[in-house]
């Protein structure tokens, strides 16, 4: 049968052994609901959703042995660039019914799908806004424990810093997926990563961990930043 092994880095996170292959999965918060293209395995009446590292950067970071993804049950997350909510749906499994994800995106196409998803996963709260303008959703987002930033924009790090100043609690974390090619196509990725990380350091944030996302995503780095 499927070997089932708890991953202690996050709540509701598991490794399944499927035909000799280890696969990451989360315990389904809303059993019975399955999105398109999603693989669900049932073990002793419990549903586990396979979390594909090629579709989600958070999963890629977990595959690449990140030691800490600062997500706990009941946490409030501000998600910048939530898109259709692929990754967010797994984070929603992790934080459970006590937590909440405030999901910001400015594009209107993925947003229609996100509305569908959030009507099922009620801990996802959709906000159609520009993440460059945190003032526009100041009255919609409370103080949060984590900011997850995946907007794939050249000023991504700046965007996450502005949002941290308005929304992140002291001791909270920023998780940013830095995409080198959307910031600078000429400079080698290593240099781009360093320059972007320095922006956090200049603002007094602390770098907790960084992990490259090869081979799942080329020239991407996931950084965990703490707001002391």
């Amino acid at each position: 049968m499927h070997g089932l092994e708890k991953d202690e880095r996050c709540p509701n996170l598991y490794w399944l052994n499927i035909k000799g292959e280890r696969k990451l999965a989360t315990k389904n918060l809303v059993p019975g609901f399955k999105s398109v293209g999603e693989e669900i395995i049932k073990i002793k009446g419990t549903e586990y959703r396979i979390w594909n590292p090629y579709h989600s950067k958070a999963a890629a970071a977990l595959y690449n042995n990140i030691s800490l993804l600062p997500l706990k049950e009941g946490q409030k997350i501000l998600y910048l660039g939530i898109a259709e909510g692929t990754t967010a749906s797994y984070l929603s499994d992790i934080i459970g019914w006590e937590g909440a994800i405030f999901g910001v995106d400015c594009a209107y196409k993925p947003f229609e799908k996100l509305l569908g998803l959030s009507s099922i996963r009620k801990n996802i709260l959709p906000i159609l806004s520009d993440a460059r303008n945190p003032q526009s959703y100041l009255s919609l987002v409370p103080t949060v424990d984590v900011i997850y930033c995946d907007v794939a924009q050249p000023d991504e790090v700046d965007i996450s810093i502005w949002n941290a100043k308005s929304f992140l609690r002291k001791g909270g974390f920023i998780v940013t997926a830095i995409k080198a090619s959307s910031i600078d196509v000429v400079l080698p990725p290593g240099k781009v990563f360093q320059r972007e990380i320095n922006k956090y350091l200049d603002e007094g944030f602390q770098v907790v961990e960084k992990v490259e996302l090869n081979p799942f995503e080329k020239n991407h780095m996931m950084v965990i930043i703490q707001f002391k």
Binding site: E112, L115, S118, S119, L125, I127, L138, L140
Partner: protein, 323 residues
Amino acid sequence: MIESHKPLNIVEKHVEVAFSPSTPIGKAVRERIFCLAIEHGFKSNKEFLSFLNEVYRCLASINLKRKFSEKELSIIKVQAAIEETEKILNLLISKIRDLYGVHFPELNSLVKSHMLYAKIIAKIGLRKNFSEERLKEVGVQNKGLSSKIMSLSRSSVGAEIDGGLMENIRKLAQSWLDLHTVLSGLKNKLEEDLMEVSPNLLRIAGLTVSAKLLSITGGLNRLAMLPSSKIQVLGAEKALYKHLKGKGKPPKHGVIFLHPLVRKAKKSDRGRISRVLANKIAIAARIDAFKGENMASDIEKSLKEKVSRITGGKNRNAWARKG
């Protein structure tokens, strides 16, 4: 959490609070909102979340509608820019053909494609620089055409022109090519926006006709309200008024005449085809406006069947999607 400055108003267990989110009290509330909700009557976090969820989805839907109409506006503006750009391109290429015709008049009728003509001038220039190899480089694939151009470039009756003038003509041709790239960019943008706003209409009417119909009516909702008999003559208002005043025949088709199905049909079939097409366009627009499902394949299939019944199956190749 709404911005205003009403005083606290306590009703039974519920508290109505009004504050600005950036003030200290606003900040304090934003830090403790989930605790406050429980303290003031929500039974659980989950219950509060469900309540918030309804509110946020409602707000987002309203914003989505607003954004949607922005997209429609962008479609109308981009279409207008495309039409102007096309006019400029036509004007410019006819001047280029005119000028270069002094030097090599025979090329004008040999190369009908404006794109190829502009490339030949921008990349090769004077007749003496012509060679089969260079013609191939700029995209003359046809061997017969290539050798024809070569032989005429040797025997041309055109005059010699000086290098300065040639350089200016060459730059004009390059500008034409650059502007053409801009045009392609605009068209891509238009297609992207149409794909989001009205995928069914786009598939049935094609790029140009869709954009023109939206421009004339002022938006998808208005287009979707029109009967198909009106859609059939949209853009032919001039001819329609003439007819109503008793001069001339009633118009059979307006903007939709630009659709390849109508344009490439026999004259005697055009009226009936444009009626069928207008009918399907009306259906597509209504689905886009009121249902938002993609049913383009079904509509397209039934359109093709109806058209081939009219043409007796002879019009099959006229179907080209991008107009």
